[in-house]
């Protein structure tokens, strides 16, 4: 019975792949009311996001299927998949919204299955997401009032005010989902408190739906947003604001990430930052930048799935999730180490992994648009990201084991390792063949958005008008150099020996022991607070605003609720009073007013 359930669950997790493969060109319509229909069709943009889904879900489902089956979670996961597929396939806003909502509440119900959720976290998650959904609904209703139709189609004939209203409402809706500042607070809370594997879905897949929405904006406002408000330098003026939102998000979230003590919170902030780049690139709107955005979306999905699944494995094996409490797992969990290594190289956007290709395209796009200050902000964020990337690998894997669990941990079960290996392989392959990704994955999407495709002379080569690079050559040179250097080192004479103890450290002549605070993971990044800008950013949070808002709302609620605690006499009196006052007014006015 359990086995059948699990197999069923795994089969469900393959549905996005099935949809992607079997859908073809057909459309599916489902009548609602008043002549409205839900239209489902598969365009290249949807296909791209469906591809992410098809990649991600089986990989998450595999470790989820481990142990005794959690029927409710399986059911909710299936619903979540249904919602996301509906969202992506929808040809009109109605279907998009329905899918969006199904995704929202099923993910919430999955989220609260974790024992770590607090009331605050759960409420923040659902309220932010519902706010996003209702903004979407408002946007689509405005859209409807302008066009009389819910079909997703370019909005060209409406008034400027109407177009701006749609742009702002939809933009806000999707930015909340993406976690742009200052609407990000649900992400660290949610990703942190969600069940460990579900965090992978949240970060890897669900957040992408916000990006899908943002990529719909150029569809709605053709000419890459420039149709909305003209151009600024070489880019669309409307996108400039969006781009700055993305850049500020990226910078602030990166600094926040550096100061986190909890692995999953760090990953959550880094996710915000990474998606900030994408928002910026979408704002730029040129084919280079949007190509970079799409590429980054792909890379971010793979990387975050990889990292979250790996850390889920670590949490499973050790029960620890703070940098302080882990350490030196490199010997005990080498596979996890490699996974995180590949993951952070991708996250930091370093060559030769594909994160660099994505960043390259985005940077070139920014230079092309002549938006150099944005480029500076992105550069700041992506360099600062090195620090948290280093923390991610140092804290759990290097240094000294800081808890009994970390000293005795073993490699995660195979169901965690298989997705890791698959994702690592995909990342490395994409890194070697960036041209392949451009040609096969990115270009069709660009063409749907009405942008010129980037194109690639060969699979290994990434080419832009500004120059490019060859992933194969890069990998060959680096690998060759590495092999030669290592070989030469081995060939040279002289003996090498391994330290007899992890405490064999040059420590000013002292002999450190297990009690000596040798693991630097906890304090890392603390000194950054002394840098004025970072100190200022870290000292401020939106938590206070949110708490204040909640407090005020509750106070208003208490005030209004107080009205309802009276006696029948009061109620009667009130009714009579209303009657008297109103009829006096009536009499004075001599009729209806």
């Amino acid at each position: 019975m359990n086995l059948i359930l699990k197999l069923l669950f795994l089969a469900v997790s393959l549905t996005p792949a099935l949809t992607l493969l079997t859908w073809g060109d057909g459309t599916l319509a489902w009548p609602l009311f008043g002549g409205f229909e839900l239209l489902f069709e598969l365009g290249p943009l949807s296909a791209f996001f469906l591809l992410l889904l098809a990649l991600g879900t089986p990989l998450v489902a595999l470790p989820m299927a481990r142990g005794t089956p959690d029927r409710a979670a399986y059911g909710l996961f299936a619903l979540l998949l249904l919602g996301m597929q509906m969202l992506l396939l929808a040809g009109d806003f109605l279907g998009l919204f329905i899918g969006w909502e199904v995704m929202t509440w099923s993910s919430y119900l999955l989220l609260i299955r974790s024992t770590r959720t607090t009331l605050e976290g759960a409420q923040t998650y659902i309220l932010f997401n519902l706010a996003s959904a209702f903004l979407l609904l408002a946007g689509m209703l405005v859209f409807y009032s302008l066009t009389g139709d819910f079909r997703i189609a370019p909005l060209t004939e409406a008034s400027a005010a109407g177009r701006w209203a749609v742009f702002i409402l939809l933009g806000l809706a999707f930015l909340i989902k993406v976690g742009a500042l200052p609407l990000h607070r649900w992400i660290p809370l949610g990703y942190d408190q969600a069940p460990d594997l579900f965090s992978a879905v949240l970060a890897g897949l669900i957040s992408k739906m916000g990006l899908y929405g943002l990529l719909l904006l150029p569809t709605l406002f053709p000419d890459a947003l420039a149709g909305l408000s003209g151009r600024l330098l070489n880019g669309p003026a409307a996108g400039y604001g969006l781009a700055w939102i993305g850049a500020i998000t990226a910078v602030v979230a990166t600094f926040k990430a550096i100061s986190q003590q909890d692995i999953k919170r760090l990953l959550a902030y880094s996710s915000i930052a990474q998606l900030g780049y994408v928002v910026t690139a979408i704002g730029v709107g040129s084919s280079l930048a949007v190509g970079g955005a799409i590429f980054q979306t792909l890379v971010h999905t793979l990387v975050k799935l990889l990292l979250f699944i790996t850390f889920a494995g670590i949490v499973l094996q050790t029960g620890q999730r703070r940098f302080n409490d882990l350490g030196h797992l490199i010997d005990r969990m080498p596979m996890a180490f490699f996974a995180v290594l590949i993951g952070i190289i991708g996250l930091a956007g370093m060559p030769p992994l594909p994160g660099f290709a994505a960043k390259y395209l985005m940077f070139v796009g920014l230079i092309d648009a002549r938006w150099l200050l944005l480029l500076a902000a992105m550069m700041l964020s992506s360099t600062a990201a090195f620090i948290y990337c280093y923390r991610l690998i140092y804290g759990p894997f290097l240094g000294h084991a800081n808890s009994p669990e970390a000293r005795t941990a073993t490699e995660a079960p195979w169901s965690y390792l298989v997705p890791q290996v698959v994702l690592m392989g995909l990342l490395v392959l994409l890194g070697i063949f960036p041209g392949f990704a451009i040609e096969v994955i990115v270009d069709p999407v660009l063409m749907t958005l009405g942008l010129t495709p980037i194109g690639a002379p060969s699979w290994g080569e990434l080419a832009t008008p500004y120059g490019g690079y060859d992933g194969v050559v890069l990998m060959t040179v680096f690998g060759g150099a590495f092999v030669i250097v290592t070989a030469l080192f081995w060939l040279a004479r002289g003996q090498m020996r391994r330290a007899g103890s992890p405490y064999d450290l040059s420590f000013a002549g002292e002999v450190p022991t297990a009690d000596t605070p040798l693991h630097y993971g906890a304090g890392m990044g603390r000194e950054l607070r002394r840098i004025p800008l970072i100190g200022w950013i870290l000292a401020h949070t939106t938590a206070g605003v949110q708490a204040g808002l909640t407090r005020q709302t509750l106070a208003a609620a208490g005030l209004l609720g107080g009205l309802y605690r009276r006696d029948p006499q009061t109620w009667t009196l009130l009714a009579v009073l209303v009657l008297v006052v109103a009829s006096t007014l009536l009499a004075l006015n001599g009729g209806w007013f």
């Binding site: 330098l233 490199i330 010997d331 930091a348 956007g349 060559p351 960043k359 390259y360 940077f363 070139v364 230079i367 002549r370 150099l372 480029l375 500076a376 550069m379 700041l380 360099t383 090195f386 620090i387 990337c389 280093y390 140092y394 894997f397 290097l398 240094g399 000294h400 500004y466 120059g467 690079y469 060859d470 050559v473 890069l474 040179v477 680096f478 150099a481 250097v485 290592t486 040279a492 004479r493 002289g494 003996q495 090498m496 020996r497 391994r498 330290a499 992890p502 405490y503 064999d504 450290l505 420590f507 605070p517 040798l518 630097y520 990044g525 000194e527 950054l528 002394r530 840098i531 004025p532």
Partner: protein
């Protein structure tokens, strides 16, 4: 075959120039301090001594691979930098790369090495790495923005194209885009790990920083790549701002001139704290860079 020979030549040239330049730096410093100073070959001796140490201690496999990664990174970087223009030689694989790639490659090796530092388990090393990364965060923004100004000016990221566009001294980017050069100069010094931005490996504050646990031949490897990397960066700046070089002598002359400039600056200033470094970079060079952006993009 050509590529292989060419690469070997580049590596060799880099190494030789590296120890000579650094030997010169030491002697230059010594003369400023009214000392005799070591011989100009001193860096070769030091390097060889370490490479010939008979014992090397490692702290696990990652500790061993770190220096290998950083060396491989250095070699890769320098192979992507064209040394000469209008020549078949000393090009490496630079036609397959671009400026942004090189900037990122500069970081790959150090980050690989940072893994080794971390796996040594010495907190001082990690402290040094963090400082290095923090400094990187400070210097990279103005550095990249300065280079972006150049890329914008020539509308390409290809170093070859930028180099080719600077025919004649009047077209050197140093002349045509002096702000960009002013912007990158100090970050460039910091990226060379030279004073006053050399807090990363400070022996007093952080007990030699990232290199605290490295000894023996591993330290030798680290020194080797450091010397080569210095030259690669110098050549890159020569390519970008001084119009590149047509032959090796010109290359050496230009690189040396640039080196002299940076050396003079670093010899004159004492060391800054990490946060001072970052703050400085975000105020002065970055302010200058923003000015440059406004001038380049908005006004011209």
């Amino acid at each position: 075959m050509h590529v292989l020979l060419d690469s070997l030549a580049m590596i060799a040239l880099c190494y030789v120039m590296g120890f000579l330049f650094q030997g010169f730096y030491r002697q230059f410093n010594a003369r400023l301090q009214r000392r005799w100073g070591p011989s100009i070959w001193q860096n070769l001796y030091d390097n060889m001594k370490f490479l010939l140490k008979s014992e090397t201690l490692i702290h696990g496999p990652m500790f061993f691979f770190g220096p290998m990664i950083i060396a491989a990174g250095a070699i890769t970087t320098l192979l992507f930098v064209p040394f000469l223009k209008d020549s078949d030689w000393l090009q490496g694989v630079s036609t397959h790369g671009n400026l942004i790639l090189i900037i990122y490659l500069l970081v790959v090796g150090p980050l690989g090495n940072a893994l080794a530092v971390g796996s040594s388990g010495n907190p001082f090393g990690v402290m040094g790495v963090t400082r290095g990364l923090t400094r990187l965060m400070g210097l990279e923004v103005p550095f990249f923005l300065g280079l972006a100004l150049v890329m914008l000016q020539h509308e390409t990221t290809s170093v070859h194209a930028i180099m080719a566009a600077q025919d004649g001294i009047a077209h050197w980017n140093l002349i045509t885009n002096p702000i960009a050069f002013a912007v990158i100069l100090l970050p460039f010094i910091a990226s060379q790990n030279a004073s006053p931005f050399d807090v990363v490996g400070a022996p007093v504050e952080v007990y030699a920083g990232p290199r605290v646990e490295f000894g023996g031949r591993l330290l030798g490897v680290l020194m080797t790549q450091n010397m080569m990397m210095t030259i690669a960066k110098l050549v890159l700046v020569v390519d970008l701002f001084l119009g590149g070089a047509s032959n090796v002598l010109e290359l050496i002359a230009k690189a040396f001139a640039l080196f002299l400039l940076t050396t003079a600056i670093s010899a004159a200033f004492p060391r800054l704290k990490t946060e001072q470094t970052v703050d400085f970079f975000w105020k002065v060079p970055l302010g200058l860079a923003v000015l440059g952006v406004v001038l380049n993009v908005w006004l011209i």
